[in-house]
Structures are given as C-alpha cells and as structure tokens.
Symmetry: C2
DNA sequence: TCACCCTATGTAGCGCTCTACAATAGGAAA
DNA sequence: TTTCCTATTGTAGAGCGCTACATAGGGTGA
C-alpha cells in the first residue's frame, strides 16, 4: 500500500530480470540486450528505492575464476510487491524466462 | 544493409506493436501500458526515420462512430527490416501477441 | 609487442521517455 | 451545471536511457 513506487518500462524490465534469477549487471545486460549505460545506473536507482539489495562476491572467488568480481543483486520484499504491480501495468513483461544457472 | 538504424528498447517495442497489427496511438498505449507522452513522440520519430507511415482516417467515419479521428500507422519495408534486427538485439521483444481486431 | 577479445563495472552528456496537463466532443452522473 | 468518463491526439519540463568511452587483468594472435 502506501508509497506506490512508479517505474518506467525499462526499469521494470530490469527489476523483473533480477526477479527471474539473473543476479548481476553483466548477466542482466545479456538477458535483455540493454547496454551497460542503461543497466548499471538503473540498478543503482532500484537499490536506492529499496527494491533490490546488493552484495559483492568474495574477492577470492573472482580471483579463482580469473575474472572481475561481480556485484550480486536480489529482490527485497518491497521489490517483489512493486514488480507484481509493474507486470499488471505493462502486460508485455509477463514473458520473462528464468535464469538457467 | 547500409544505414543501420539503431532503436532504443522502448522505440523498438512500439515499432513491434505496429508490426503486430495495432494501428493507432491509443491502441499502442493500451497494448503496451506506455503513456501517451511516450507513444506519440516516439511514433513521430519512427515516421521521420521512414520506419512507419501514417494516414488519418476519414472524418466521416470518426463522426459516425462519435469519437475523435484516428491516425493509422503501418510498417514500411525499411521498418520491417529494422524491426527484425531489433528483435535479434532485444530478445524479450519476441513475445508480442497480434492485435485481435 | 602490439592489437584485440573476454568478463565485469562504471560515467559524461545528449537525447529519449514519463508525469502531468491540455484540447475536443459526446454522454452519464450527482 | 459542474463534475466525471470515454476516446483520441498532443505538449512542457524533469528525469531517465543510450552511445561512446574508461578501467582493469588475463588470454589469444601476428
């Protein structure tokens, strides 16, 4: 109830991608086709709104797999609620497939 | 090939909606959930790019049905080609359903 | 050795998108 | 008789999204 966060279509799409199990920025970029300059600022705004929450992966894990560290995101309770309202508003968001890994 | 028109995700979504058989602005708004301030400027830009083409319906038809006149859009050949490239880039656009009327 | 690709996050500035409002005209509600 | 709803197109200004580029370490190719 209460504060009714309104999302743009693109932000809602990114939120839904996280909800579908894609867990970090690069993963969201590949799933959606959206560029980094859209995805990273949007993830920051979604986190500031309290809809997602991030944690950096352990440095040792990234080193072991020889790649940069990932910042993992997941939906908060508020994010889950806001997402379900966004899917009502934007009917085309319903067709997201879950992440395979 | 040649001129490679690049579209934003939202513009591509609107182009695809026209391709799926939705024929005028209000129709696109209902199909997508996007607001008028997104849809009408975007349709104007898509027409300026030569991807869609518009024709006003006959005044007599609108009068007979007691509503404002509609501006009907359809894809051009360039629009069809650009749309198929956009669907490759943005995989989530594939799930559009056709217009019922 | 230099160029380039891969994975991953991030930013500047321009241009597109969204909220809110307007115009128009008919009908219904109060 | 003013307000509200429907159906349709449209705009101003604020804010979001996109292109192009940056960073960084490792691998691959000539």
């Amino acid at each position: 109830m209460a504060d009714e966060v309104k999302l743009t279509h693109t932000s809602a799409l990114i939120l839904q991608t996280i909800g579908a199990g894609y867990r970090y920025g690069f993963d969201v970029m590949e799933a959606t086709g959206l560029p980094s300059g859209t995805v990273y600022p949007a993830l920051r705004r979604l986190e500031q709104l309290g809809l997602i929450h991030s944690t950096w992966e352990k440095e040792s894990k990234a080193l072991a797999e020889q790649r940069p560290a990932r910042k993992y995101y997941k939906l908060t309770a508020a994010g889950t609620q806001t997402l379900s309202k966004a899917v009502e508003r934007y009917p085309l968001l319903q067709h997201m497939k879950g992440a395979s890994s």
